[in-house]
């Protein structure tokens, strides 16, 4: 019997459904910090159920660490459901607003780049363009890479939100089973049995 073996650190995508109470974000973030869990991004917003908010948390860690994240999250009263959808077919998106320096001689080239990445221009001034881009993180990264040379004046990214493909939901799939690797309240059966 040995300590939890140091398995590989990977990025995990967690969907967390929480009761929409004051301070719930504080509780979640405080818990992650206290337990030294490494959050890459966290987004919060309303879900399809009134009174229930949905958090998407991108967290870096080994599988067993992320399982511990789930168990600790379940100890918060407001947390209703934690699902690790890392290995699920899912749609993951983030939104970026980018204000890029644009003079008359560079404007056409920037608009061309925006078109390639499907970014929409929302505002313009003599010296700048404001555009919105949605997509996976790699796409946003690539767009920013193309724009960097022109001078990015201001940038905001929302962090990732995600949804599993197909009819199933973060609550249950059509058969009542949970989708994704649900981090169960009760861990029984998830651990190999003594031989």
């Amino acid at each position: 019997m040995a300590n939890t073996s140091p398995s590989q650190v990977t990025q995990h995508l967690l969907v967390v459904l929480v009761e929409d109470h004051p301070g719930v974000l504080n509780r979640v973030v405080s818990l992650m910090r206290r337990r030294s869990f490494n959050i890459d991004s966290i987004t919060v917003g309303h879900s399809e159920q009134p009174g229930v908010s949905r958090m998407t948390i991108v967290v870096n860690g080994a599988d067993d660490e992320v399982e511990q994240v789930g168990k600790q999250l379940y100890k918060l009263l407001e947390v209703l459901k934690v699902t690790d959808i890392t290995d699920q077919p899912c749609v993951a998106r983030e939104l970026a607003l980018i204000k890029v320096a644009a003079k008359s001689q560079t404007r056409a080239e920037i608009l061309q780049i925006a078109q390639i990445y499907g970014a929409r221009v929302l505002d313009a001034s003599p010296n700048s363009l404001l555009m919105e881009a949605t997509g996976g993180e790699d796409k946003i990264d690539a767009l920013l890479g193309m724009l960097r040379g022109f001078g990015i004046r201001e940038l905001v990214r929302t962090g990732r939100i995600a949804m599993v493909r197909g009819p199933q939901t973060a609550q249950t799939d059509g058969t009542g089973r949970r989708s994704g690797r649900s981090l169960e309240r009760i861990t029984e059966g998830t651990v190999a049995v003594a031989e």
Partner: protein
Amino acid sequence: MAVAATPRRAPSPPPAAGRAATAHPAEGQVLSGSQLTCAALEAEGVSTVFGYPGGAVIPLYDALPGSSLHHVLVRFEQWAVLAADGYARATGEVGVCMATSGPGATNLVTGLANALLDSVPLVAITGQVPQPMIGRDAFQEVDITGITLPVTKHNYLVQRAEDIAPTIKEAFYLARSGRPGPVLVDIPKNVFLARAPFHYPETVARRGYQPSHIPNQRQVRLAAEAINRAERPLIMAGHGIMLAGATDLFREFVERSGIPVIFTLLGLGAFPESHPLSLGMMGMHGHREANAALERCDLLVNIGARFDDRATGRIDGFAPNAKVVHVDIDPAEIGKNVVTDVPVVGDAGEALRLLIPEVTPRRHEEWVAWIDTQRNRALHAALEDRPQTPEPYAIIRAIAEATDGQAIVTTDVGQHQMWSAQHFGYDHPDRWISSGGLGTMGYGLPAAIGAKIGRPDLEVWAVVGDGGFQMSLNELATAAQEGLDLNVAVINNGYLGMVRQWQDLFHAKNYSEVAISGPDFVKLAEAYGVTGIRVRRDDEILPAIERARSIPGPVVVEFVVEPEANVYPIVPPGASNSEAMHDRWVDEASV
């Protein structure tokens, strides 16, 4: 010594004499927030609260005399919460404390952390500045719900008077259910003053809180199979057995399976130490045979303990040959520190109830005989020597002898705590009350106050060091004011002994800031209007203890001991339990 395990829940103590039990308010009766608070506490069956008044809770204290609650006025809020902690551990009921906003509330933080780490059911009620002042840095304003987020099981800031009673209902439910813990309820002053109808809900329903009480039958069967197959099984008994009130079931399980038992610090009392299958405490200051059995066992059955690092030592050297069965009500404890082969998530009592019929009755004679060869007989023989200066372990043994092992022992933290854990011999549950996880110095006296109020039928001894006692000795005034018949044994070595011991053993005897002077403890006791006794010689130990027992009210007995006595065995920091250091009395033949 009697080895009968007593039921955890003592009958609730009657309200203090002369205190008329007031009738509960009727549903719908309009009351002030303060009255609602008292009514909710009464509805929970609370008889005693520990607290300290202040500006924001003046309205609450205005309502107290009209309630049936007995308020114990402490001398420092930190000791209010730890007295409530001692009360909870002694009775199995939820301990209750109250404090004002600002410094009153922040003084509770240590005690809340103490209760969280040791899974003690507590409800703390704090006053807050009036709602319009919140966020304006008002006088005595602190964000206590923010501050106590990581040291409570849950906390609340009550916004409306009509929410007070349902919130307190939920707070008590949370504190005592699942894995018990502290819950804080913060109530603004104007909410105490507002009026609302009394409504006390029958039940609590929170979607996000469903403790796993009953374990999965399949996992229980797998645990039983592992137990029935094992050649050298060992049970690790934790606090959870007592929290579940399952000491009788545990004894039945141990005697049926024939498996020897080691204890975590807080597990002491889960099973009689005088029983032949009892090996005593494990871990950093564990008995030699307990740690030797850990090293050699092929199956470790942990019931109600959380694999604390003081119990496990270096984790990769912990029980290196064993498969692990872990019974815990908190799923987050499974696999947190130690890889578990068979997790059983549920209440220890429910798990044992299901496990007992599945376990084959056995006797592990060869295995138990091998463990017996690991006892350090040289040490045991040396402990019988009685030099002229009082030896700390001799004091602990004398208290056990004088009280026939029936007393409640509370401690501070350090050497005296480990001597008390090693040498008292706990045969009954809930008699050993010590700060395990947090290691809170000063705990001993306030915990003894709480324990004595909760269990007036039992003799109570606070065993403290001269360091820790100087943190909380002001509570002698509380004990005197309450007229509590409790005794304080001060093990005075003139040092912060455990730190000095580490400096001695691991820091080249560099005694940095550990020599500590103190008052004349006999005169101090007299100044508080209580009796003080000083013991300087071994032959005075037992007479002094008997004298203290015969005097009603608080008694302080100061034992002047050898300044540089060390606690042995000791596992050096970062080492495995098998690498314990022993005193000069180590039995070389059995190493």
